[in-house]
Amino acid sequence: MVRFLIRRLLTGVLVVWLISVIVFAIFFIAPHNVAQLLLGKFAAQNQQLVQTVTKQLGLDQPIWVQYAHFLNRLFHGDLGYSYYSHEPVTSLIKAALPITASLAIGAAIIWVVAGVLIGVLSATRPRSFTDRLATLFALIGLSFPTFVLGLLLLYFFFYQLHLAGVTFFPGGGYVPLTQNPGQWAQHLILPWITLAVASMAVYVRLTRGQMLEVLGEDYVRTARSKGLRPLRVTYRHGLRAALVPIVTQFGIDVATLLGGAIVTEQVFGLNGLGRMSVQAVTNQDEPVIIAVVLLAAVFVVVANIVVDLLYAVLDPRVRLS
């Protein structure tokens, strides 16, 4: 188990390193002059200035020297300065990360818990009204683009309710959890729902299918024959066995979470990592882009290791072989 973990960690580091090389290379090869870009209209007037800035940023060095510098600084926790705002990239990320984390973790909890519960409900009553309603909901949820849903929620819960005098839901923005947990949640409810619905639909369908299969297994019949309560049979025996594929799916979804966050953050004006990366791409702010990509890579690698560990926790047959 420990050896397995070490192996996974090493491959994880390798993956992150490879991504750093690729990202770095893409931006180096990209045909544009950073110094010129930064200086804007000054560049045309003063060629001297362009050269000074190029030198300052180390952009006149050979690519491998630049990469070595980059790596060296990376190891010291220095991700450079934004070309655009001239702030350290680390402080930009420090400001944006809690927002995205709040959004993503909250949404993930909602979609997993609600998706699995609805899936279980519809599997325990196949072809019932509940089941059909859940299937319908799943289909609608799946086919709704995130930004449309976000705008609709804003329209009804912010705009219309405000007109009606109910000002519970703010139209955007963020309040840190440490500052005011109540307002934090209030600001995030609509974004959470927006980000959660599509994934939740996936979990409803997945859980329903898995549960229908598992509930027909012999060991579930055994559980019933033992005289256990129906809820215990469904959850402790049924859902427990259906959990492994659900966790697999979660590992895949976590990887694409940032993509969903980008749209949601735009719609609700949340200055998280998603919004930050969109701005960085628009401004060709390379240090920021590289940092976000690396962060995402680390996140995905870690998430996958966690999922592998979860497997071992969930299935003794994996743990012991």
Partner: protein
Amino acid sequence: MALLEVRDLTVEFPTTDGLVKAVRGVSFEVDSGETLGIVGESGSGKTVCTLSLIGLAGGGRRGGQALFRGQDLLTMSADELRAVRGAGIAAIFQDPLSSLHPLYRVGWQIVEMIRSHEDVSKAVARKRAIDLLGLVGIPQPARRVDDYPHQFSGGMRQRAMIAMALALNPDLVIADEPTTALDATVQAQVIDLMVRLQKEFHSGLIMITHDLGVVADIADRVLVMYAGKAVETAELDDVFYHPHHPYTKGLLESIPGASGTRGKLRPIPGSPPSLIRLPSGCSFHPRCRYVMDRCLTDEPPLMDVGAAHRSACWLPATLSGLAEGTEAQRMKVAEAARSEDTPVAEGES
């Protein structure tokens, strides 16, 4: 009053193809300390006929009566039935690997059973689980109690299932082909264990099997099922030495080494009928060597053919047994009661 009295049990499953009449009016009794063997080919309704009593046969419409300790299992509330399951009537299933939960420790599964019916501490329940595992012959039970099912061998898994079934000292155990999935030597050990434990616990036992050898080892009485009906019920010896129903006789002749086969095996021709569209008259008639005209139109009820011996066949009550003389007589009776164009089943022999 017997421990379990089943009267005229019917179980039907509505399906898209039509109504599956899985059990069509079966009656039997089981008493404490007694073993009823239920035999029949695959699909004859053995499982449905027994597990439906405790609501484990996958839904289906149930009719008739099933008095357990005087209470009707078919009409009691869900909560009452749940209290009966495990504590009053326990079940052992065919495949111990798929019947134990793969993700929980064997001991945990037994403890769960005990604690869902009795208010005892985890430690006490665990101690009992270890004792039970020891009782059913698991070596080093104090250590193996924390194993997962996949760490057990097939025989040990079935022993663990038996331990779990006995955990609450149930009045009745339903064993649905508990040895079918096991190796021959392990089969014998498990049967021995069940015989021993049944004596010790003095519970009633229903042993479902399609292996007459198993029945011979363990049963006091036997119920032979065909197409959802009981076609013959008798004491153990009568089934083996004085079978009356041609189907029972066919089962005996189709197993190697059974009495009356004298070396040559004779499989029953044809295959069991569809339970949606059953043959007219006696449902066994298309496969019967002794078919008579009335078999095509009249369904024979269970009739007395001896002491505590009943058979659902129109052949004369006196014609039971495997002797050659009886066989010749049976043929003569059947031929006399048959018109020219009635088809007679012939197996290759």
